[in-house]
Symmetry: C2
Subunit: 295 residues, 2 copies
């Protein structure tokens, strides 16, 4: 998209990791941003961001870093939103737009409401669905969001102008921007992303306990490698997801337990037709999904 | 391995699919086999095997095809062993060695005992751990077993000479041959292979039911694709695994349910330390496993 009218004079990125750094890189590559101020605790990472041209300067104090900002991006771990808002709230320019990249939205919205006492109109909750095993400014990539989805979860109080600006910003990176109510967003991601991660961790954990020195892992093959790839994800991040998306995740696990219980009953009863139907239905839907996904 | 002393004058392969066809190809490439007779229901597949030089002739009648064989390989679906044995038992030469490639061993051994009234000494139960999404003679590959494990599960009655010959045959293909008691084999594969498949099918099935038109699959990303790859496996094969490895699989599902239940409790209770410990332990074991696996 060539959009000469889109320009952010000063962008402050709080958390210059893979996501924050990649957004800065994408906006710079489109000449859509003036100065980028990076905020973080890890000086080495900030220096990498500076060396790579993702940011123009850095500051370890978020309160100071947001002064004069036109747009502030919160790109710290998802459970930390309240803490960061507490530090910047009184220093944020009145017209500055605030947005985030958290993978859980209700928790972020609740944190903002708690911190402000109301939902701030110029805060646009957002979730770019991108990510990789890599992390940090060193892994940032201007093309990370290309053809990926970014979900915005505005509240009734959200300012339309702010929403439009955040939408255009993400569109500039090549992302496909959609909107969902925060509650729906959290239920969908509990089921499609958080639940699979919990199952992968639980499977490896089960094997560790069932193994009992019998060499189970020696016989694990390719299917196991694929299935458990996500169990190699960052334990801190997924602990936070477990803590901050509690209710939708508990519901998803309970729903899954019912289906697994049904499958176990069919195996116990030797229900050949029932097993075939479940497997065939799952396979055909998964194949269809994959085909639509990779045109 | 160069092993001029190893030679099978006549090999009969019952089921010339990916596994049966690949073994024939591997033995031919080592000049370790004379005539290969292929047996199957699908004439087109047998013709492909003939055209590709995997077999020298084919026969749709297993009883006739095993006459004069030195080694007979059962490579039909794992639940069909009893049925195939019933058809060939009275036609098998007394000195012929019989072996199979089933992914479940106790069921195969039970079928042989039922059919013969005792465990035949020259039947060597085996499980080559290879496979792919592809199937049929067209996908056969002489290198399929290279560096893969083949597990032999001999019974006390198994003839040592037959066991040695089957071991050497698989070593010739480049496989690493190990031995396990049938019961341990079935428990290990229930946990490391069958359980992950059940979880992948159950997850897709859960999403289909939870979705309810809300577009869940639209938001599923890369982690979901990897996690559910095995849900695109052949429903008939996995129905058979569910039916023929019932008890170990039910035990594995029950063990997994306990761990998942514990994880759900930790999420409900906001047990940050417990969640971190489980995730970190799973990640570090999985990372170690992967590192050892890919030297």
């Amino acid at each position: 998209m060539s959009d000469k009218s889109f320009f952010i004079p000063r962008l402050t990125v709080i958390g210059v990791g893979l996501i924050g750094g990649s957004l800065a890189a994408a906006l710079k590559s489109k000449q859509a941003v003036g100065e980028v101020v990076g905020v973080g605790r890890n000086l080495e990472n900030l220096q990498t961001a500076l060396d790579r041209g993702l940011i123009d300067r850095h500051d370890q104090d978020p309160a100071r870093a947001v002064r004069g900002a036109d747009l502030v991006l919160l790109a710290t771990p998802v459970c930390s939103t309240g803490e960061v808002l507490a530090r910047i709230r009184d220093h944020l320019p009145g017209q500055a737009i605030l947005t985030d990249v958290g993978s859980i939205k209700q928790q972020v919205i609740n944190a903002a409401k708690t911190e402000y006492g109301f939902m701030p109109g110029r805060f646009v909750p957002a979730h770019p669905i991108a990510g990789a095993e890599k992390s940090g400014a060193a892994a940032a990539d201007a093309g990370l969001f290309m053809k990926h989805k970014v979900v915005l979860t505005p509240e009734p109080e959200t300012d339309r102008e702010a929403l439009t600006l955040v939408r255009r910003m993400w569109q500039l990176t090549g992302a496909e921007v959609t909107e969902l109510p925060a509650q729906s967003h959290d239920e969908i991601f509990a089921a499609t992303s958080h639940l699979p991660h919990m199952l992968a961790y639980a499977l490896v954990s089960y094997l560790l306990h069932a193994d009992n020195g019998r060499g189970f892992f020696e016989y694990a093959a390719g299917g196991f490698a694929d299935f458990t790839r996500i169990a190699s994800s960052d334990p801190t991040m997924w602990r936070d997801v477990g803590l901050c998306n509690r209710d939708p995740l508990v519901d998803a696990i309970s729903g899954f337990e019912q289906i697994l219980g049904k499958l176990k009953s069919m195996i116990k009863q030797g229900d050949a037709a029932g097993l075939y139907t479940m497997f065939e239905e799952a396979k055909s839907h998964r194949d269809d999904w994959l085909e639509k996904r990779q045109p």
